[in-house]
């Protein structure tokens, strides 16, 4: 890493440094697992606290003519409720609390990641994969609870000759197993790529500025791009939370109404 920085000359910003996880409160190992309280844990807790504060404050003193905060809360509620109704049907509304929690958590983690000097929890594959695994296991369990062993029919396409069936069942199975991976990789890759890009352009700006003289004026180009990318990143932060929630609804729909 050191040689790389030397080669780059004045440009010595490490764009991956922001993703470093370090312990804030070190704890002894428990059964081979390090339970230390890290910056990732801290930002997850901040996200949870922010969501709780936002929702309790927006629900407090509810009136017929909503205040700004109340209408924001209602907007979020309606948004997810409609999403579930459209994608998983009326029965899906039973799982509203879970999907709403999921959406708010991912949204707030993404948005808090846009605050300078913060840490983006969702830019770590293990976090998104843990979320996606919970969804995957829960949805599969719901499918088996509702349909019993008949849920296995999800992997058996209809109207296929018997010789082709084993091959297609394997393909269907793989296709089902890709769900948690694609769900988590999508969120993680988007968040990490965006934040790395912002950091790289930030580095360019600083490098131009520190060059001094007339070259410093060149800083305006990467700076303008950074402003544009920040706006795009805000859109992506929301969009990825939305995609995460809507895919959960779609998977839930498969478990509730088998196709």
């Amino acid at each position: 890493m050191a040689t790389q920085e030397q080669e780059a000359g004045g440009f010595n910003v490490d764009p991956m440094h922001q993703f470093e996880v370090y312990p804030i409160i070190e704890l002894p190992m428990v059964g081979g697992v390090d339970p230390s309280f890290t910056n990732a844990s801290l930002w997850m807790m901040i996200a949870v606290v922010c969501v709780s504060l936002f929702l309790t404050l927006s629900a407090r003193g509810a009136s017929l003519v909503p205040s700004r905060l109340q209408s924001l809360g209602e907007l979020a509620y309606e948004f997810i409720a409609n999403m579930i109704r459209d994608n998983a049907g009326q029965e899906g509304l039973r799982y509203f609390p879970f999907i709403f929690t999921l959406f708010m958590f991912v949204l707030f983690c993404n948005m808090l990641g846009m605050v300078p000097y913060s840490f983006t929890v969702t830019s770590h594959l293990i976090v998104t994969f843990a979320l996606a695994s919970v969804i995957f296991i829960a949805v599969t369990a719901i499918g088996f609870i509702r349909h019993g062993l008949g849920f296995v029919q999800l992997f058996v396409p209809k109207g296929i000759p018997l010789i082709m069936l084993p091959l297609l069942v394997v393909i269907e199975l793989i296709s089902y197993l890709t769900r948690p991976v694609s769900l988590s990789v999508r969120l993680f890759a988007n968040m990490m790529a965006g934040h790395t890009m912002l950091k790289v352009f930030g580095g360019f700006t600083v490098a131009f500025l520190s060059a001094g003289g007339i070259i410093s004026a060149g800083a305006i180009a990467p700076f303008a791009l950074m402003v544009a990318f920040t706006a795009l990143e805000l859109l992506i932060a929301f969009l990825q939370a939305y995609v995460f929630a809507i895919l959960t609804c779609i998977y839930l729909n498969d478990a509730l109404h088998m196709h």
Binding site: I174, T178, R186, L239, Y242, V243
Partner: protein, 125 residues
Amino acid sequence: MEHLFEGIKVRQADPHDHLRNFSDRVKKAQKRDKSPAPHKGRGTLIGMAYRLSVELVVGVSVGGFIGWWLDKWFATAPIFFLLMLILGMVAGILNVIRAARAMQDKVQLDDESQNQSQSENENKK
């Protein structure tokens, strides 16, 4: 675990119906003064693109991983790895086709409802 689910059922049974009625009433109210929303679905197009892009790569990697794991299990490297890699590719393509088809249906539905509301508006005029 079970009693947990039961509690949810009991609580859900009543307000559920109420909610359904309520949403029907809201829908009726919305239909009355619904102006066509031109930007609906615009923002989600990017979301759709992101959905598809990952699907292909993940199919191959998950297939490869399963194959590698089976090979370790049965000590048959690299038969399962290669086989599952190809099957994973097929699964990825299948996923993309399915997702794209679902999106197509949705876009068509949106277009139809938009056209309908537009023609309704024109009739009113």
